[in-house]
Amino acid sequence: MTEEPHRPVIRPEPVEGRPAPVVRIERLSIALPEGADRPFAVERVNFNLRPGELLCVVGESGSGKSMSANALMGLLPDTVRVAEGRILLEETDLLREPADKLYDVRGRRVAMIFQEPMSALNPLMKVSAQIEEVFEAHGLLTPKERKDKALQLLTEVGLPDPPRAADSYPFQLSGGQRQRVMIAMALALEPQVLIADEPTTALDVTTQAQILKLIARLQKERNMAVMFITHDFGVVAEIADYVTVMQLGRIVESGPADEVLYSPEHPYTKKLIAAIPKLRAGAAEKTASAPVLTVEDLTKTYHMGGGFFKRQRDVHAVKGVSFTLGRGETLGIVGESGSGKSSVGRCLVRLQDPTSGRVLLGDKDMAHLKGTELRAVRRRIQMIFQDPFSSLNPREKVGRIIADGPIAYGEDPKRALSRAAALMEMVGLDPRGVNRFPHEFSGGQRQRIGIARALALEPEIIVADEAVSALDVSIQAQVLDLLGTLKKDLNLSLIFITHDLRVAAQICDRVMVMQKGEVVEIGPGAAIFGAPKHAYTQSLIDAIPGREKEAAMA
């Protein structure tokens, strides 16, 4: 980011009527190892956490949010070290405390919820045991009492069937449920300070809303000081009392939530807020053009288990879905997690074989082609994958990744590679990058490589499955812009799968809402978001955090 340095905007903290801070982080600098992209992960940052208040830390990926939080827990990675500063928990400086004193602090006085609900729990231990461990670590209660307390906590965080959850392994719970277990664990000893590091980023809107509510409630009830890390301004608007904005390891703006959100002063803050996708239909409604793709009664059933001696279990992921896609049109598919969005997308490109139904691409039925015929049709419909890390072969050079498709269809490798460079340029990357490996690019850049790859075969249709969900707002905005431009220039049709309704609203001509494998509503974006007909659509829209406040921003 080549921006002129601006002076940070630190608003004076109002003192009256507010309790004294329980944690004060003062002039904290954390040095990165040699060869990192900058010398300090965080540089002279200050935070104050007060009982009963919630501080939101926002900022782009890599700006040092997690580092600050980890430093407070005393859990910095081995490769970095604290260069200067103090972290005061009441009167003790945690940075100078001997290691075994910290054991008593962690979990008991300061607790943390981590970013990844999927991996933050020990996969081999039952949930209850993992919660009981917190008491055990601090030598509290008898084993029997611990068990009861764990159950009580699970009830408190609103898990549907607490006894069953207590007796489950983490893999038997959904993402949202796991995140709630983490919260239960963090709250077990009623800590003074709670740190939540992007606790909802990976979750769909409905689950997200539940968890936000839960944290807010507990915070108020127990008078905790909370540090909440996120890059989602909707979330900030919903829950923050106080906001700190970070960029490249520095605090660029901080102050009470209302002031920062509604009258941002630092250009970076402004930019972030401007980049928030708005929940309103973007593109003007197109006059219906001839459909390039017609999907008729698409059904996908997964058969699980099943062997000689095992009963088979069916998952009806997609049930009788029909729709058309016009030339140059963008169709959004939204719906909560597990509603069958990805399954539809994967059936369209035949990464999965549909159980029944037809996918007509012109007069060819994608659903029933085989071998060379399938290959021939396939180049007309391409896909952009969700995860920019795992969708690029780490051992192939970027140019070759882009050129692989054309080469597979018999193009001369030299020409294909030079075209790859052109495509790089088209998606806004330095064409000299063709000789680098994927890991040498940032997440946003990688997603562009994915787009370039999809474009290399000059398809008529592109299916984008959560193509921007993993990116932070500013980069997300860039990629969405790019897609919009390309679509116009190349007259592409786009199927855009997402669980973020605001993103769908912004770029889709028409939106299809799915629930439990069925289409509940399909129609122009404005109609869907403006006047949802179906109750389910309405509930999805209601779950979007900070809807009204966000609207007031910008």
Partner: protein, 323 residues
């Protein structure tokens, strides 16, 4: 679970029969036959003698008939008669099995126990001298020829120091019973079990260490730290258990070799086990005996594959046992 096991057992039997047939042809492909070997040993042969032997062993029949006869008896759980030892194969094997199992199981336990322990210590003290020492020693055990190590052990502990017996299964003719006999066998067991165990121990050390280091970087370890758990508890309860899966895989492979994997050690230490029986049967072309050992060993391998899979499920509840 019971169904799963039953299914696997059924499949295993089919595989076992295929393996037996393949082994049959494999063994018969080697030059020489038991009659020639026995005639050779007798130091005196004539055509009548050879013919007698071949008839006695059924070697005058066409190969497919021999196979048929053999399979028929195997299906009836009879492994036939050893040509050379004039004894039912099953009895011969049963005779040696306890010694072999004792040796390889103790080696197995030693290697697994010490290996995991040392690996865990090394990973906990990564980069420090104790880690370097453990890793180096493990590598040396890994790279030293087994029989060489065995000889050195005998020289040191048996000849020089006189602490432990250097060969055999028990003190012959001492007439020990009860505890005294158990202790006697134990003292004979120490050297061979240790030498046999060292190689695998080295492998387990390396595997456990690498695996634990990897698990250490996982998020849930951070969660455990955030709870305020002490490092020892974290390593034991959270890291080790999650790091164990690849070790279990390997242990399954080692366990499969329990019956016949110790030819060299059994030879050097005069341990009356199956490995030696097999090697002797091979060099004497004692077809039935050799096949018998192979069948038993294959059965063990299949059995341990099954046990490993079941164990997987115990260690890691995520794994659903299918196919």
């Amino acid at each position: 679970m019971a169904r799963f096991i039953a299914g696997r057992l059924l499949k295993a039997i089919v595989i076992l029969i295929c393996i037996t047939i393949l082994n049959f042809f494999l063994i018969h492909a080697a030059p020489g036959d038991p009659a020639a070997v026995m005639a050779g040993e007798a130091g005196e042969t004539d055509a009548v003698f050879l013919q007698q032997l071949r008839e006695r062993f059924g070697l005058d029949q066409p190969l497919y008939m021999q196979l048929f006869i053999y399979l028929k008896s195997v299906v009836q759980l009879d492994l036939g008669y050893s040509y050379r030892q004039q004894f039912p194969v099953l009895d011969l094997i049963a005779d040696r099995l306890p010694a072999t199992l004792l040796l390889s199981l103790s080696a197995f336990v030693i290697s697994l126990g010490l290996g995991i322990l040392a690996g865990a210590v090394a990973s906990a003290r990564q980069g420090r001298w104790s880690d370097t020492l453990i890793s180096m020693v493990a590598l040396i055990f890994y790279a030293t020829p087994l029989f060489w190590l065995a000889l050195m052990a005998v020289l040191l502990f048996s000849v020089q120091l006189g602490w432990l017996p250097g060969f055999g299964y028990e003190t012959v003719g001492a007439g020990y019973t009860g505890i005294a006999r158990a202790l006697d066998i134990l003292s004979h067991l120490v050297l061979p079990a240790l030498t046999l165990g060292l190689f695998f121990m080295a492998v387990y050390v390396r595997m456990t260490r690498a695996s634990m280091l990897e698990v250490n970087t996982m998020d849930f370890v951070k969660t455990a730290k955030a709870k305020g758990l002490r490092p020892g508890v974290i390593q034991r309860r959270h890291v080790l258990r999650n790091a164990l899966l690849p070790v279990v895989t390997l242990a399954g492979l080692q366990a499969g070799q329990l019956v016949g994997g110790a030819v060299l050690i059994e030879t050097v230490f005069a341990w009356p086990g199956i490995g030696r029986l097999m090697f002797e049967a091979l060099s004497q072309r004692d077809y039935n005996l050799l096949l018998g050992v192979f069948v038993i060993s294959a059965a063990m391998v299949l059995l341990f594959n099954l046990i490993t899979d079941v164990l997987y499920r115990v260690v890691d509840p995520r794994i659903r046992v299918t196919s």
